[in-house]
């Protein structure tokens, strides 16, 4: 029977190479941004709804209106219809126009849906 006298030696020698592997990601080009100041209360505030026209957002916003009005009777709302679809082929244009539109409508806070 043939016996490889180098077998034990071979088994103890790594054949796995030696590599210095580089980071495969890339730095973020990102400025950390602060959130807007929060509101003291929703009472008498003007709340805008933004919608991506999916996943029953129209029904959800109707329910939100109902619930918020019960807690804050003088809260006001601006419908999603005022802003256009936030997730369509015109998304960039719609989003670019948002700050000015919110200002024109006197908005205090925004509820945006639906991520589903």
């Amino acid at each position: 029977m043939f016996v490889d006298i180098k077998e034990e030696t071979r088994m103890n020698v790594s054949n796995d190479g030696h590599f210095e592997a580089l980071w495969p990601r890339s730095p973020r080009r990102l400025t950390k941004k602060l959130l807007a100041p929060r509101l003291e209360t929703l009472e008498s505030k003007n709340i805008a709804f933004l919608w991506d026209y999916m996943f029953r957002g129209d029904e959800v916003f109707t329910l939100m209106e109902e619930g918020l009005k019960q807690r804050f009777p003088r809260v006001k709302f601006v419908s999603w219809k005022e802003f256009g679809n936030t997730h369509s082929k015109n998304e960039r244009e719609v989003l670019a126009a948002l700050p000015q539109r919110l200002k024109e409508l006197g908005i205090d806070g925004v509820i945006s849906g639906m991520a589903c």
């Binding site: 796995d16 210095e20 580089l22 990601r25 959130l35 933004l50 806070g109 945006s112 991520a115």
Partner: protein, 454 residues
């Protein structure tokens, strides 16, 4: 949706983003790339699977309270995340050790990678005239810089050869094109990108463009396809269970190259010309497809005999994707039909051009109007609308509402030219393939592959 919230916050308006329960992880990961920790309000379960009573209870008992808190309670700022530098060595060791680290750090797709060493990366960089630090864009959702260096690193990992580098650079240029919409690459239908290659580079680099064209087995087709997915993972930031919310998903697509010999023989323009380039240019075209199906054994010796079967197959591949014909992204549906060379030759022999075939599909790949409306309005819960209303407000051509008959046949696309046709595959088999396109969430984009001058 979160991008809209980020715009509002930046403009000084506090927001609450409504997020279904299963998407809270993705939303949290996405907000990092937007530069702020957006406040989220949970919607329990998924709205599409709830009765009106269940939805009401969930919104009023859970979502509402969280939304009020989001708008009125100051949140702690997001912490700083320390990361390596662009050219840092992150792991030293043998093949197994490096691969284990890359898997543990989520830098690998699960298959062994080629360790990206400086020597190998520099070999790739010799095949481009661009600076390693040049940025081709910033890619969402992670907002990372798409540098030439990072292209080389991921090309090495994917098992590409250095001479593929010009193709990889063109692909990332396409990825960064806003028209493509890379930021949608983690959406739930889980579409995957197909790369179509054109030009003399097909033969120069040895891409398969004949039998079994979309099967792994040819190094350039397979490794360049893998590169795409690795780049989406490592630089765009699409990771499963985080930013990639594919419900099912599948492996990356092997690169498809057209058979330009046959196209030249029959006088049909290659895909590259349809994408706006000159015949003979080396180009890549990318688009995302949710799926597709092979159509076997088309029988006939004339276009009139062959095309009804293929048109029928086109209709069968398009369902909810109609939302890209009318609705959120009207006019962005671009189905792709692959014809084997013998089918294209048979059709062309009768004097038909590619455009004639597209026109045929436009006129014959049609469905009843009632079915069209039912798929979107009733079955997938899109907002209430009708084809007649869309024609009425000018958002659809009159062709979609020529009568009130719900059985009238309407096209599935807005224009004949929205069809894409490529000729490839087994030269002597009468098979076709139809891809279901993902509309604006991966719109076709083409880029010229720069020749390397140095």
């Amino acid at each position: 949706m979160l991008r809209a919230s980020a715009v509002c916050e930046e403009a000084g308006y506090p927001t609450s983003s409504l997020v279904c329960e299963g998407f809270l992880g993705q939303a949290a990961a996405t907000t990092i790339g937007l530069g702020m920790k957006l406040p989220l309000a949970k919607v329990p379960g998924h709205t599409q699977a709830q009765s009106a009573d269940e939805l009401r209870r969930n919104v009023l008992e859970v979502t509402l309270e969280q939304a009020v808190g989001n708008l009125t309670v100051e949140m702690a700022a997001a912490g700083e995340e320390r990361e390596p530098g662009a050219r840092d060595v992150v792991c030293v060791g043998g093949m197994d050790e490096v691969n284990q680290v890359f898997i543990d750090k989520e830098w690998s797709d699960g298959l062994p990678i080629i360790p990206p060493t400086r020597q190998k990366v520099e070999a790739f960089l010799r095949f481009t005239d661009r600076s390693p630090d040049e940025s081709l864009g910033t890619i969402l959702p992670d907002s990372r810089v798409a540098t030439v260096w990072s292209i080389a690193v991921n090309g090495v990992m994917a098992g590409c050869r250095p001479e593929y580098m010009p193709v990889l650079v063109a692909l990332v240029e396409a990825m960064c094109d806003p028209q493509y919409g890379v930021e949608h690459s983690g959406n739930t239908p889980g579409a995957d990108t197909l790369v179509i290659l054109n030009g003399p580079i097909i033969k120069r680099l040895g891409f398969n463009y004949t039998q079994g064209v979309m099967r792994d087995g040819f190094q350039p087709n397979t490794s360049v396809g893998r590169f795409w997915r690795l780049y989406l993972r490592n630089v765009a930031g699409f990771l499963l269970h985080k930013n990639d919310k594919a419900t099912f998903g599948n492996t990356w697509r092997v690169v498809l190259a057209e058979n330009e010999d046959v196209l030249s023989e029959i006088g049909w323009e290659p895909n590259s010309v349809e994408m706006g380039f000159e015949a003979g240019d080396d180009t890549v075209t990318i688009a995302r497809y949710t799926g597709g199906n092979a159509l076997a054994s088309a029988a006939g010796s004339t276009p009139e005999e062959l095309l009804p079967y293929i048109a029928d197959a086109v209709v069968r591949q398009i369902s909810w994707q109609l939302m890209f014909t009318v609705g959120m992204a009207s006019g962005t549906l671009r189905p792709l039909v692959l014809l084997s060379p013998i089918l294209a030759q048979t059709i062309a022999k009768a004097g038909w051009s590619k455009q004639d075939v597209k026109q045929y599909f436009f006129e014959h790949a049609r469905i009843p109007a009632g079915q069209f409306e039912r798929i979107l309005r009733d079955w997938t819960g899109k907002p209430v609308w009708s084809l007649a209303e869309a024609v009425g407000d000018g958002s659809l051509p009159k062709l979609f509402a020529e009568s009130e008959d719900p059985n009238r046949m309407v096209p599935i696309l807005r224009r004949a030219e929205d069809y894409m046709i490529a000729v490839t595959g087994d030269p002597l088999r009468t098979n076709a393939y139809v891809f279901a396109h993902n509309g604006m969430l991966g719109y076709p984009v083409g880029k010229r592959i720069e020749s390397h001058q140095r």
